[in-house]
Amino acid sequence: MELTVLDSAGAQPQQSGCSSSGCGSTDDQLAHLPDEIRDKVYNHPCYSEQAHHYFARMHVAVAPACNIQCHYCNRKYDCSNESRPGVVSELLTPDQAVKKTLAVAANIPQMTVLGIAGPGDPLANPERTFATFRMLSEQAPDIKLCVSTNGLALPESVDELAKHNIDHVTITINAVDPDVGAKIYPWIFWENKRIKGREAAAILIEQQQKGLQMLTERGILVKVNSVMIPGVNDEHLKEVSRIVKSKGAFLHNVMPLISEAEHGTFFGLMGQRGPEPEELQNLQDACAGDMNMMRHCRQCRADAVGLLGEDRGEEFTLDKIEAMEIDYEAAMVRRAEVHRSIEAELNQHAQAKPAAPADIDPDARPVLMAIASQGGGVINQHFGHAHEFLIYEASPAGVRFISHRKTDNYCEGGDTCGDGESVLSRTIATLSGCEAVLCSKIGYEPWDMLEAAGIKPNGEHAMERIEDAVAAVYREMWEAGALMTAADECLVVA
């Protein structure tokens, strides 16, 4: 049988944020969507796994206030459902936000999407949020606008949202059952009172569901984010996935809880753990039966700028944009050209033949492999330099992208790194479940440690296309008899 590559992959541009080829749009992740929706998302980096290598997004932090409390959030920092906690974003006024957006759009023509995602809840700050959207839809009609919300104030905002250029809304829905919700949301501010416990969760859930329905009725795309909290809502999220899909959400993004104690969140302080990469992946797979899953989410911070996984915010701080002169009319012409050429490239890739034949028993078990790559869709990074690994699954059905796993890279390039070894063991723990790691080069010490951990290091496929290399390694494993299932082994014994 043929070992096809499930991703629509291809060569990637130099500065791919995700440093991977075809981050896993299984066949075509958006294939089942009606044309008008595909038209809306094809160049949206957060919605299309293909697009996120090419198109960039930015967030502006204009909405600091919030109307609920989540146990995974410390309001001293940013909203942790849309941004990493522990970092405070530069808060902007709507005027500053517009100026910054125009500056970024002119300097990074691949930027197609402006999002408002907090810190705080954009719809709990309607004046600031809508003032920003209003000005941008007038001054920069070529930028898509989107907004992320906890949903409490969503129903009353839908009409206003529909008026601007907003065709995408993200709602964070962590529960559809108030008993589960009560473990995540201690209180909400509702009708001028603080309401606590189950009653609060019930109101929030009702508002979220109502908002979701109102948006889809108006043809506004809805993505649902869920934070996976082990022991609290992990099993329940399968139900959430089913329900939001049936109400018309088009993409579900299950994200891991971030709960380091030093962020000072309730969950962090109380010792609630986040999910292991494998647990997250299993849940994503379980939910995927019901709908599209987003697997390339990087939990960007609320003022991130650039391709997903990169942050060029430093280039566009307030003092820097004050000094910039922007001719947006001219920029729009250039932007349109850049977008056209990216589209052409994407179309070409869609037609590229990704196939690697192999004679593999359809019952052979699937294998996870970790890839060190800094972009271009090829294996081109030293093991010790990788800040993240791309996880691919090889099976008789083909090769598919699964996720990114972040690591602290252990090699700082000197002999001085005294805690190198402990970071290395942490890196190896991050790769648990993988059976091979493919990189351009690897040192002796990590080689031995990886082998001891049951992960096979492999530097033989340097500069090869990721999918081809993964398929080749899988085939070698098959030929070596390493892919027999338990049933096969019984046969051999018998």
Partner: protein, 92 residues
Amino acid sequence: MSLRIVSSCVNCWACQPVCPSDAILQAPKHFVINDRKCTECEGSYDVPQCASICPIEGAITNAAGEAMNPPGSLTGIPPAMVAAAQAEIRAR
């Protein structure tokens, strides 16, 4: 009569837009309440709005200097029970 915002305020902005008297201002260190403008929301709402949305226990005090949201009141866990709850959550 007026409420006060004290130094544990984390500048989250939540109170400022909900005040019916426009009495809350951003100030160099943290938000402050203008005591000439604050009405404790009397005549507008049953409960002081700022204290009802503030996420930080102890950040807003009443005229007597007592915390409007005392320790444990917002997470729902009385301080004495924190240790027990911690043990339970860890077991998950």
